[in-house]
């Protein structure tokens, strides 16, 4: 077989960092192979993929060198973040932009655009639709459509479904399965379950970016599962494994009387229209509520409303006190945004976490101790000097959660706090939250992960079209830890 990518002794280092991120990495990928890159969050998967796509160093100037570097002529790249990969405002213009680059004659464009949209299942979307009005899943499928238009030799996918609901995830992967022909495919993904049918070869990295295993899929699954486990990587059966080694106990449903939160005829508005509403709800101490529902169901909207970040109407009480609209609730409620970048106000990871402690006027030595402790727990200690934007996707996510849980507010609103995380960090985070819950904190958390709902939640809200259509208590939580 003929190699399509061949890297010998690749070295790469971010400006101003002490450590080489990639040190003498060798990688050969052959034409038509379907490869999965696995590794703990922050090990350099996205960075390596950008090198493979030629984005580093062509568009992003990162110091790197390689003894030998053979890259494909044309690659299609789907980025981790759905928001920053479009350069035109409308669906048709976005694909046309690619066709223009390839000098496709104008008369052929319209047909081709329709064709590519059909291939990714976007045929029911009118051609001249604003990209901003698409749902997350539709956006990622559009990204794939415009990549198809490139007709690349190699497809590079960086967690294309991290922000999608289970349905959207399934659709995107089956879209990819459908369109795959003899192209080469390289995927970065934390959860293997979705992609296992698609791939043939798995490359596993460790925390420091070294290649641990590079074998056919079957061999990795048959022989190397303990290795994946020890590096905190998701693998099929990780939940069962995790649960079996924990002491199981029945859930202790909260007994304390007096509701923490009461909502009645509560409506949340965007642009003067109701986007989420609640008829009547009470939340008690020690509850862990998970909010589920498809993309665009209004989950984030509801939480933003509960934080008074969007206009609301109706009755809303916290600790028996009526909430005045638009009031600053930051002392009572901690919030984690869906997009972690929305959260950051400081210029370094350390300052970001220290920020709210400083606001409270804590002493600097106390702050330092507290912050470092928390950063270590979230595997961020080595990155404390970085700007929050320089972190990897998973690290950003963890940082945003860390900033929120530090201040000991008694209510936590979390918008998808576990997406893009490896298994080790996911469990760390969940256990931390469970500890908080035990201590009496109320947790309301949006997630697309059914396993989290089953195993950690005490209650589940199912949202559809802006309404909570199902409100069930999870009486038999499978995992509760001492």
């Amino acid at each position: 077989m003929e190699p399509i990518i061949d890297l010998k002794k690749l070295r790469l280092k971010f400006p101003g960092e002490e450590r080489l991120l990639l040190k003498d990495t060798n990688l050969t990928i052959y034409k038509g192979e379907k490869v999965l890159l696995l590794g703990p969050s922050g090990c350099g998967k996205s960075t390596l993929l950008q090198v493979l796509g030629g984005i580093i160093p062509r568009s992003i100037d990162v110091p790197m060198k390689a003894e030998h570097r053979q890259l494909p002529n044309s690659v299609g790249y789907v980025f981790q973040d759905p928001e920053c990969q479009f350069c035109m405002p409308y669906v048709d213009e976005e694909i046309a932009f690619v066709l223009e680059n390839l000098q496709v004659p104008r008369v052929e464009m319209r047909d081709k655009i329709t064709e590519y949209l059909r291939k990714v299942g976007l045929h029911d979307v009118p051609l001249h639709t604003k990209i901003n009005s698409l749902s997350g899943g539709q956006k990622q499928r559009l990204a794939i459509a415009s990549i198809l238009a490139l007709e690349p030799e190699v497809l590079l996918l960086d967690e294309p479904t991290a922000m999608l609901d289970p349905y959207g995830t399934k659709q995107v992967w089956s879209t990819i399965l459908d369109i795959m022909t003899d192209q080469t495919l390289i995927v970065v993904e934390h959860k293997i379950d979705h992609v296992i049918d698609l791939i043939e070869r798995i490359i596993v990295f460790d925390e420091s970016g070294e290649i641990l295993v590079d074998s056919p899929k079957k061999e990795v699954i048959d022989r190397h599962l303990p290795l994946l486990k020890s590096h905190g990587i998701w693998y099929p059966g990780v939940w069962e494994e995790y649960l079996s080694c924990k002491v199981r106990r029945e859930s202790s449903t909260s007994t304390s009387s007096g509701s923490i939160m009461i909502m009645k005829d509560f409506h949340v508005y965007r642009k003067k229209e109701v986007y989420a509403s609640v008829d009547e709800l009470k939340i008690d101490q020690g509850e862990w509520i998970t909010v589920v529902g498809e993309n665009g169901a209004g989950k984030s909207t509801l939480l933003l409303g509960m934080m008074q970040l969007l206009k609301t109407s109706g009755d809303y009480e916290i600790h028996g006190v009526r909430v005045i609209p638009k009031i600053d609730l930051s002392r009572k409620i901690a919030y984690v945004f869906q997009n972690p970048e929305f959260q950051f106000v400081a210029h370094s990871v350390f300052d970001e976490v220290a920020f709210s402690l400083r606001l409270e006027g804590e002493e600097e030595s106390v702050i330092e101790k507290k912050v470092d402790e928390l950063l270590t727990k979230f595997s961020l200690f080595d990155h404390r000097h970085k700007h929050p934007y320089q972190l990897s996707m998973g690290q950003k996510r963890r940082l945003s959660v860390a900033t929120a849980i530090l201040n000991k507010q008694k209510i936590l609103l979390l918008d998808e706090p576990t997406f893009g995380q490896d298994s080790k960090n996911t469990f760390e985070l969940l256990e931390l939250l469970e500890k908080e819950r035990k201590a009496g904190t109320v947790i309301v958390m949006i997630t697309h992960d059914e396993r989290i709902v089953e195993n950690f939640a005490t209650r589940k809200w199912m949202m559809k079209e802006g309404k909570i259509v199902e409100d069930t208590f999870v009486t038999k939580r499978k995992a509760v830890y001492s």
């Binding site: 984005i55 568009s59 680059n101 600053d328």
Partner: protein, 268 residues
């Protein structure tokens, strides 16, 4: 958006429209006779009112600054300009007949320029303008697409402002009080807004290059912007405005002044 009607002016080739307007701009600079200029301004105003295609409410709102600019541009020349025929003298202020008309003339000129520009921007879609500039004026796609991306980012930046506002609220930034609180707040908004737009621009650049956008290669165009009969109409209308303004002003002047400059070496 408000009720908008696409008049024929929307379908003039944008590059051509810009070119013609530039010529008119230069011609207006060469007019020193306030009579002619007044006619030109009035006729342009008529053209503007008839064909801008937007609702009256929007137009009035946009025209408001024009009054201001007329007053502000003319006033200092009226009060402090050179001249011999004194009307008022009061301290530093010295209004003469010459300075008065020169001031009015400058004000009218500013008005005419403004009308022309507003007519252009109201009747031209940026997408068409930049596609046309690439096709007719050989503007490098590197610049054209950057402009388009920039325009797309304006509403996104407004949203960004909200996002920053929310982050501040959630993190309790607003709790600081007093002067340092205000300064902090101002900094807390402008700096992230700018740095965010830089990051966003950078990411879009990366995405564009990942889609094989190369700056010097040839390319085809999704939107073809050509020429039409309307371009001809446009030249005719503009010529008509200029000539009739000139002829009217020579035959029916409003004021007996031919040239507002202080020391004119008469060339005509």
């Amino acid at each position: 958006m408000n009720a908008m009607k696409e008049t024929w002016m929307y379908h003039i080739n944008p590059t051509f429209k810009l070119f013609v307007m530039l010529v008119v701009f230069i011609l207006i600079l060469l007019i020193h006779n306030p009579n002619t200029l007044l006619n030109v301004t009035m006729l342009l105003f008529l053209l503007f009112l008839l064909f801008n295609g937007h609702s009256l409410k929007v137009v009035l709102l946009l025209l408001l600054p024009f009054l201001l600019i007329f007053v502000s541009t003319s006033s200092s020349m009226i009060m402090f300009g050179k001249g011999d025929t004194t009307w008022v003298k009061w301290g530093l202020i010295h209004i003469t007949e010459e300075s008065f008309f020169r001031g009015i003339h400058i004000g009218l000129r500013a008005l005419a320029f403004g009308l022309l520009g507003l007519l252009f921007s109201l009747t031209t879609k940026p997408v068409n303008l930049f596609y046309s500039l690439m096709q007719q004026a050989r503007l490098s796609p590197k610049y054209a697409y950057s402009f388009l991306a920039g325009y797309r980012l304006i509403p996104i930046m407004l949203e960004e402002f909200q996002v920053i506002h929310r982050a501040m609220k959630v993190r309790g930034v607003g709790r600081q009080k007093g002067w340092s609180g205000i300064v902090n707040k101002l900094k807390a908004y402008t700096i992230p807004l700018l740095s965010q737009s830089i990051r966003r621009a950078f990411r879009i650049g990366v995405a564009m290059e990942a889609k094989q956008f190369t700056t010097n290669a040839k390319r085809t165009y999704y939107y073809k912007i050509g020429f039409s009969k309307r371009d001809l109409y446009f030249v005719c209308v503009i010529s008509l405005i200029l000539t009739s303004a000139y002829i009217l002003s020579t035959h029916f002047p409003y004021v007996p002044i031919q040239d507002v400059r202080y020391e004119t070496t008469l060339t005509l």
